[in-house]
């Protein structure tokens, strides 16, 4: 099997030994050949579709060419019915991503029971708090719509729900109403209910969010709607002379777009504070209403997940004059680059702080690379994720000597593909936007990567095929992956996925290796 696999390798020429196996990674393919193969692969995959669908899908698949300003794919376009898109919906983008992690607010999944049930506690947005008393992230609040609520409208029920939350969860600091599909279809006026109840409770923050699942083409519009709801129902409600409950300093920053999955925001925050900055808010992992409200006092907004929170960052820039800068805390190369970029907004004290932090963690970085790189050198990866990860994690793989040979966004826009093309992917990388089950399987089958990084719906498909896999949404229940501490975990996890002994056992010894046969026939 190893011999068969190296035939399709496209990594640079090298020899290495691991666990006694002599692995020849001698590349027989030039970039031109890789590009031609990938283009042919796309054409082959498109053959399965009816003509109309093939034409539409062709625009989302491409082979990256060095020097181009984007990846040459269309994006943020409606998914095609019936193809098994991996995408979710606007509700998932708002409740599941942006709002859900705000810990001291109660988030009502407003509509039938399912949406809240399926998204209950599954994203691992870590937080510190007394759940059910002053924190509510891992509770499932729903209006559990019944037929009568659809027929007669749900506003009266919503009024009652808000009262019941106030009575039974008196320490909540605010409430959001996360609309599910029916809300927008039956003409409920959740804004009016929110305003009236807010007034009744003496100005309590109650945020109606119009994130019905049928809006837009993916999770992405849900992020935008959620961002706008923060603008309209939090920023615009805070009294302009409202003073923060802490003394401002010149070094106050806000972490924007880190959901603290497995503690990511914490292993990021610690670096920022070590370099001398003060983090006054986390959006939104382990975040609170007070932090959202105080963010306009920040001197700099630092933005990790550009896709889900660029909107509010731009708004704060326009309205409050707060600059924002993107950063990437995956892998030591990008972390160092990012720490320096962030420090560039501040004085020498912070710049020195950044250097000090980079220096402090260098021994850890060296030890991690020394331990794991020999086991991972030359291994190839295919990614398909959401948000920032299809590009952001590439550097971390490269720090370990690995190569990303294919990547794509579940709900990216053109500006994501621009960033990807300009800063991350190599010439010849296969690009697939809004990939579906069929396409992804064919691509992986053909390119035979050593690792696939994608989501829970993809995990078992590829593992059945004998391909090592890591979930790159939930970190496969591990993490954090952000920051230097996270990099060690990332390296360990990729190693344990790829080098697990189980992958040598997928074929019964008495059965022919069909994969080798397949490749030999080519």
């Amino acid at each position: 099997m190893l011999v068969a696999k190296v035939l399709v390798k496209n990594s640079p020429s090298q020899q290495l030994t691991f666990e006694g196996h002599q692995m020849s990674l001698a590349s027989t393919q030039s970039i031109a050949e890789i590009r031609a193969r990938n283009k042919e692969l796309i054409q082959e995959v498109l053959k399965v579709y009816p003509e109309k669908t093939a034409k539409r899908r062709a625009k989302h698949l491409n082979v990256h060419q060095a020097g181009k300003s984007d990846c040459g794919v269309k994006s943020n376009i409606k998914s095609i019915p019936g193809v098994m898109t991996i995408r979710g919906c606007a509700y998932a983008g708002s409740k599941g991503v942006v709002w859900g992690p705000i810990k001291d607010m109660v988030h009502i999944s407003h509509g039938p029971v399912g949406c809240g049930q399926y998204s209950w506690g599954s994203r691992r947005n870590y937080y510190v708090g007394t759940t059910g008393i002053d924190s509510f992230v891992t509770l499932q609040f729903t209006s559990d719509f019944q037929e009568k609520d659809i027929v007669f409208g749900g506003d009266k029920k919503l009024v009652k729900i808000l009262d019941e939350i106030q009575e039974l969860f008196p320490l909540n600091n605010g409430i959001t109403i996360q609309s599910e599909c029916p809300i927008g279809l039956i003409g409920d006026d959740i804004e009016a209910v929110s305003r009236a109840k807010s007034k009744e409770y003496g100005g309590k923050t109650i945020v109606p969010v119009r994130c019905e699942g049928f809006r837009g083409v993916s999770q992405s519009l849900g992020h935008h709607i959620a961002n706008d709801a923060v603008r309209d129902w939090i920023f615009d409600q805070v009294e302009s002379d409202g003073k923060p409950k802490f003394e401002p300093t010149p070094y106050d920053v806000a972490i924007i777009g880190d959901y603290n999955i497995g503690g990511d925001a914490w292993s990021s925050r610690i670096l920022l504070e070590e370099m001398g900055l003060r983090v006054i808010a986390q959006w939104s992992g382990d975040g609170s209403l007070a932090e959202l409200e105080a963010t306009p006092k920040a001197k700099l907004n630092i933005l990790h997940c550009y896709r889900s929170m660029n909107y509010i960052s731009r708004h704060m820039e326009e309205k409050f004059g707060i600059p924002w800068c993107e950063y990437n805390f995956f892998g030591p190369s990008k972390i160092a680059e990012s720490l320096r970029r962030i420090a560039g907004y501040f004085d020498d004290k912070i710049k020195e702080g950044a250097e000090r932090v980079i220096e402090k963690y260098q021994p850890l970085v060296n030890a991690v690379i020394e331990k794991y790189r020999p086991r991972l050198e030359g291994k190839t990866v295919m990614l398909y994720v959401g948000g920032l990860r299809p590009r952001h994690v590439i550097g971390a793989y490269e720090d370990l000597g690995m190569e990303v040979i294919g990547t794509g966004y579940e709900f990216g826009h053109n500006d994501d593909y621009q960033r990807t093309a300009q800063h991350y992917v190599k010439d010849g990388t296969l690009i697939y936007d809004d990939v579906n089950g069929y396409e992804f399987e064919r691509f992986v089958e053909k390119l035979q990567p050593d690792l696939v990084g994608s989501g829970i719906k993809e995990k078992y498909v590829f593992q059945k095929m004998g391909v090592p896999f890591r979930q790159m949404h939930s970190w496969d229940y591990s993490g954090p992956y952000h920051g230097y501490d996270g990099f060690a975990i990332f390296a360990r996890d990729m190693d344990m996925a790829i080098n697990s002994p189980v992958w040598k056992k997928t074929k019964a010894p008495w059965k022919e290796d069909s994969r080798a046969k397949l490749l030999a026939a080519e």
Binding site: I80, P81, P112, S119, E147, F246, A290, E370, K464
Partner: protein, 518 residues
């Protein structure tokens, strides 16, 4: 710095160290936190009878309900047929959720497509989505059948599946004779068990009653076979295999309707099987000729079973038969309906379960349990606990209805061990929290979400139910049959012994009872 390459610390340990703890303590000042004394006061208040009363007075808000929505059940039932692709008409995010939910429980792929309706479809209806969607699915995934159900979006705007599928066929999306059964599965009616029922009925109706007017209705010619319907079941893999084994032992000709025991347990051998096993379409059609149909879960087949009965078959239903008496009833019913003898082997298996109960009964007798889950599962587990001499003190089913409540009360009243026990239909896990604080029990039986109750109330959780996300592979072992009863017994006993050990393992304090023989 706590992190090191030699001993990599992940979230389980990393944040416990002083650096992170200090950082998190400092973060508090930006959170405008509540006064810790006030948090403590409210926390204690939520444990009181007063809070329970307010909690039970809730009329509108659901907190931690133990149920999902209809289409999940429809997808679960649909994949139980050979080569069948579930197609859910409506918003696409729902399908992403069903697939994730099923994959997290079974640790298996879950294939399903959506018609990806968006704003324009909300205005104009989803006909074009159906036409394109069926054509794409058919070409890409080469199914033998596409089973259509709906999300609440399509239901609210009133899309007519029958008409849409007919039009799609006219437009050539799929061949005219290709099987596309359908079921309306509104999320705002019932729960996932209702969706299972509707989807299964839709499929049987399709095959038996003339494929939506495109074929003659089948004429029933009774044979000696028995149909078995498993219902929505997190243990479908183990349970259906066990039922098939029992039927084979008894020599009963049978058809499992919606047999998803293979598709949720495929091997890792280099090949991804999108479809595997399942009731063949031929068998689904021929199931009309069976002598009788047995439903293992009454509340999963409230519509399907009467539909089958209308076609002239005998029908019988059980309530997730777990344990001795329930399995006895099942075996006797199978024998009676089929006219087949009960083989000696089953008597021996029964005897082994009796033996196990007798060996261990002293540890379970008189223990109080709280149970929550789907209505049939709750009933089955409560019945088993009663015959073990345990007391199923609180039995709560969010998707249990009035009829379930009445049937539960009859069951509880039938045993001296059920006297102080109550059934709670339509309640959620926040209600259960109040029950556990105000009327404590020894053990809680429920799904993964029960761990929140275990944390809050200290009641040890025995994981039986759906979904189980945080333990692996239990769905592969049956809970049905005498063997299944033994599995449940062992699960319960393991927890009981673990708890005894936990309470007696403090060196020099409690360990006089830290016995090596129990």
């Amino acid at each position: 710095m706590a992190q090191s390459a030699e001993h990599v610390l992940d979230h389980l340990e990393l944040f416990r160290g002083p650096e992170y703890q200090q950082m998190l303590a400092k973060k508090k000042m930006f959170e405008n936190p509540r006064d810790p004394a006030e948090v403590e006061r409210i926390k204690e208040w939520t444990k009181t009878a007063e809070y329970r009363e307010k909690n039970f007075a809730r009329e509108a808000l659901a907190v931690n309900p133990a149920k999902a929505c209809q289409p999940l059940g429809a997808v679960f039932a649909s994949v139980g047929f050979e080569g069948t692709l579930p197609f859910v008409h409506g918003s696409q995010g729902c399908v992403a959720y069903y697939r994730s939910h099923l994959s997290r429980h079974f640790k298996e792929p879950s294939s399903c497509v959506s018609s990806s309706m968006t704003e324009d479809a909300a205005v104009f209806g989803g006909l074009n989505n159906m036409i394109d969607g069926l054509a794409n699915s058919y070409n890409m995934y080469k199914p033998k059948m596409i089973a259509v159900s709906t999300t609440c979006m399509a239901e609210v705007i009133g899309d007519d599946l029958n008409a849409f599928i007919k039009t799609s066929k006219e437009k050539g999306s799929v061949p005219a004779d290709f099987d596309v059964p359908f079921a309306h599965t509104p999320a705002f009616v019932g729960s996932h068990v209702t969706g299972y029922d509707n989807a299964l009925k839709g499929i049987l109706e399709h095959f038996w009653d003339g494929k939506a007017g495109t074929a003659p209705k089948l004429e029933r010619k009774q044979n000696g076979a028995i149909n078995i319907i498993g219902g929505f079941d997190g243990y479908t893999v183990g349970n259906l295999r066990e039922i098939k084994r029992i039927l084979a032992l008894m020599g009963i000709q049978h058809t499992i309707l919606a047999d998803n025991s293979e598709v949720f347990d495929t091997p890792t051998d280099g090949e991804f099987r999108m479809y595997d096993g399942g009731t063949t379409l031929e068998d689904a059609a021929n199931a009309i000729h069976a002598k009788a149909t047995i439903s293992m879960q009454q509340w999963c087949t409230e519509k399907t079973l009467p539909f089958v009965a209308e076609h002239g078959q005998d029908v019988a239903s059980f309530n997730y038969p777990v344990g001795l008496s329930a399995t006895d009833d099942l075996i006797v019913a199978l024998s009676r309906i089929s006219g087949k003898e009960i083989p000696e082997q089953l008597a021996r298996e029964r005897g082994r379960l009796v033996d196990a109960i007798a060996d261990s009964s002293a540890h379970i007798h008189g223990k109080k349990f709280a149970i929550y889950g789907d209505p049939d599962l709750c009933y089955g587990l409560a019945a088993f606990l009663l015959e073990l001499g345990a007391e199923p003190t609180h039995v709560l089913s969010t998707n249990g209805n009035k009829a379930w409540h009445e049937k539960m009360q009859v069951l509880l009243a039938s045993s001296p061990f059920g006297q102080d026990c109550q059934a709670y239909p339509g309640r959620d896990l926040w209600h259960m929290r109040s029950l556990l604080f105000t009327e404590p029990v020894d053990f809680l039986i429920g799904n993964t979400y029960g761990k929140y109750l275990e944390r809050d109330t200290g009641t040890p959780l025995i994981r039986i139910g759906f979904p189980i996300f945080d333990r692996h592979h239990h769905h592969r072992s049956p809970l049905w049959g005498y063997q299944g009863g033994l599995n449940v017994l062992v699960k319960i006993l393991d927890k009981i012994f673990d708890e005894i050990d936990k309470k007696t393992n403090v060196l020099g304090k409690t360990d006089s009872s830290f016995d090596i023989i129990r």
